[in-house]
Structure formats: C-alpha cells, structure tokens
C-alpha cells in the first residue's frame, strides 16, 4: 500500500495549476540554468574554454552551452586570455552592449591580474574596466576550474534579490 506521505513533489491533482513560490526563487532559477556565455577568447585560455564546451567536459550540463558571439544575446562574459590596453576599450564596449542582467568571469591569471605579462602593453587585470564576479586561477585553468567558476557564479546569482531589482528599475 502506498502512503500519501511519500508525496514530495508538486501534485497537480491536489494543487491545481497553481504553484506558490518566491519571485526571487523563480527568476533566479530561470537565470542560473541558461547562462549564455559571451566567449571573449583573447589568448590560450580560449582553447581551454573550447575544451570546456566540447563533449568531454560539456558545459551543457550546466546550461551554458550556447556561446553567443553577439553581446546582445549573452548573459555572462568569459574573459579568456590576456587583455591588452589596445583591446581593453573594445572589451568594455562589448560589455556595455550586453543586456542586463550580466556577469563577468575572469578566466586565468592574465584576465585576473595581468599574469606573467608585467608589461607596458597589458592591462593588469580586467577588473580595471569591467566588474568581475568570479576570478579563476590557472595558466590556463583546467576546464573543471571553469566549470567550478560557472557553478560559483550560479550560486551567486541564486542569492541575488532579483525581484526587488526588477521592480525598482521598472
């Protein structure tokens, strides 16, 4: 005999077509599970970014497989590589063209701090021109590290007061 106490999930026969939840939970659930990356591949880290997207590591498991080369359609910019001063302005313009809400992952030593390039030509950390949400160490980072960064970012987004932000900005 099946006990009614095993009902753990939503049951449309009991609840009807109504689900009660917090707006934040719903909005953040939608946002976290389909983060479309803007692959800002500038150096060798982009090769690891490609490996992360390919079948062995498969970023699709975390809903971020849709690499968008148009900033208008992307949610998270993955800065993968060395940012030169010459490139910095273009990078900021691409960031500005992304629709809100948007996030940034600084992938690898160069994007995070300038890395080994203590040089007149290299921006010493992409956080000087765009706000960074997650920094990934490594030169280049393993695909697992980038996936970990994506999970960290998803956990961060889950804690955001999204409904309040949306109502205030509307």
């Amino acid at each position: 005999m099946v006990s009614t106490s095993t009902e753990l999930a939503y049951n449309s026969k009991i609840e009807g077509d109504v689900i009660v939840s917090r707006a934040d939970a719903v909005i953040n659930w939608v946002r976290t599970n389909s983060m479309w990356p803007m692959p800002m591949g500038l150096a060798c880290c982009a090769i690891e970014l490609m490996a992360t997207a390919a079948s062995r590591f498969d970023i699709a498991r975390f809903g971020a497989e849709v690499m968008r080369f148009s900033p208008r359609q992307s949610d998270v910019m993955i800065v993968a590589g060395t940012v030169t001063y010459k490139m910095a302005s273009s990078l900021r313009r691409i960031y500005d063209q992304m629709g809100d809400p948007k996030w940034v992952i600084a992938m690898g030593a160069c994007a995070s701090t300038g890395g080994m390039y203590r040089s007149y030509a290299v921006l010493q950390g992409v956080d000087r021109i765009v706000p960074v949400d997650v920094y990934v160490s490594g030169c280049p980072p393993r695909p697992e590290a980038l996936l970990d960064a994506l999970i960290l970012l998803q956990n961060k987004v889950k804690r955001e007061p999204s409904a309040r932000k949306l109502l205030h900005s509307a």
Binding site: Y85, K86, A88, S89, R92, R93, D96, G114, Y117, R118, S119, Y120, A121, V122, L123, Q124, R128, I129, V130
Partner: protein
C-alpha cells in the same frame, strides 16, 4: 665560397661605402641608408636573395651615435643561405630610413612595427601607422629609455575612459624582469627569477633616473 659570401663581395665592389659588419653566423654588411634600396634590389634581382626574412632595428643606447640601426635579414630560396644588411640612421633624434616596400610588399608591416616600437620613419612608406600600439600612443616602447613596466598614458577610447576612469599605468614589476638561467643545470637552479633585485617599481633602476 658560399652564396652569401659571394653576394657580399659583389655588393662591396658595387657599393664602395659598404663595409663588413661583425657577425657570428652569416656574412653581414654595413651600408649607408641611401644605398639600402639599391643594394637590397640588387640582392633580390641579381644575387638570388629573394626572400625578406626579417626587418628589425636596434637601439644602441641613449648616448650612442649613430643610435638606431635598421637590420635586414635576406634569405635565398635557391642557395638556401642568409645575408644580413645593417644601416645606421643618420639622425639620432628623428631617425629615418628609405622604405623597401617597393621590393617586398611584406616589408610594409615590418616597417610599421619598427616605426611603432622605435619611432624610425620609413621615407616613401605607403601607410606608416602604428601596428601594435594604438594610434595616438605617445611613446616608442622598444627605445632604451622606455621602462618595461610602461609609462602613464590615456586609453584610446574617450567614452570608455569617461565610463571607467581607467588609464595605462606602469605594471608592477616586483623585482623583475624574471629570466631563466641558461646552461646545463637542473630546473630548480635555472628557473626564472629576478636577476637584479636592486630595483623595483618603487626604487629606480640604477643608471636610469626617473625610468619609472
């Protein structure tokens, strides 16, 4: 004699101002700037050195005169040999060299890079703009007085500067540059480390006051 030794002998008889240049590998010649296009043209058309392998420059030092030397490496695709031509720029303050883009279209970007890094102007170049740094960058980074860490400058895009207040700042050198020790030794001994830790971004490099 090798093809390149033949070529230098032939050039010296044709260009009396040519002189031998000290070289550890391939035959090399010093030439005055005015003779460079004609000499390279002769090497390309008559002596078989048809491939411009490299075009670069050397900054002797702030006190040397002549200060800037432009260097051409030519390769012969038939004789499989190299020859090196060097030419001192006459003016140390505003160095100039005739272009060889008419001989090799490949020289176009090489000369732009030499202009970008050393500030040597190539007379007759079709499009002498910076190629690595952005237009309007105020310095020539491979000149000896330029510190590796860089000098304060503004970014090329004024809108981005207004938005972010970012600018070009000297990079933290932390005692660097870090270089590996050559020779037969184990990795622990040869690994890159600061050779001269007497200077950093806070302490000036000896002999170069105000370098950073």
């Amino acid at each position: 004699m090798s093809a390149s030794a033949d070529a230098t002998v032939a050039l010296k008889s044709r260009f009396p101002k040519a002189s031998d240049r000290a070289s550890l590998d391939y035959p090399a010649l010093n030439l005055p700037p005015a003779d460079v296009p004609a000499a390279l043209g002769a090497l390309r058309a008559e002596l078989g050195f048809d491939f411009l392998a490299d075009l670069t420059a050397v900054d002797g030092s702030m006190t040397a005169s002549p200060r800037f030397t432009v260097i051409y490496h030519l390769y012969s695709t038939t004789a499989h040999d190299y020859v090196r031509i060097a030419s001192d720029c006459a003016d140390d303050a505003a160095p100039e060299m005739p272009t060889v883009t008419g001989l090799w279209p490949a020289a176009d970007w090489h000369e732009r890079e030499v202009y970008d890094m050393f500030g040597i102007r190539f007379a007759g170049h079709p499009d002498l703009r910076r190629i690595l740094m952005w237009d309007g960058y105020p310095h020539f980074p491979l000149r000896k007085e330029f510190p590796l860490a860089g000098i304060d400058a503004t970014l090329p895009d004024p809108e981005v500067v207004a938005e972010t207040h970012a600018s070009v700042k000297p990079a933290p050198m932390a005692g660097g540059p870090f270089v590996a020790t050559p020779g037969r030794m184990n990795l622990g001994e040869s690994e890159p480390r600061a050779k001269d830790e007497s200077w950093s971004e806070r302490r000036e490099k000896p002999g170069q006051p105000g370098a950073i």
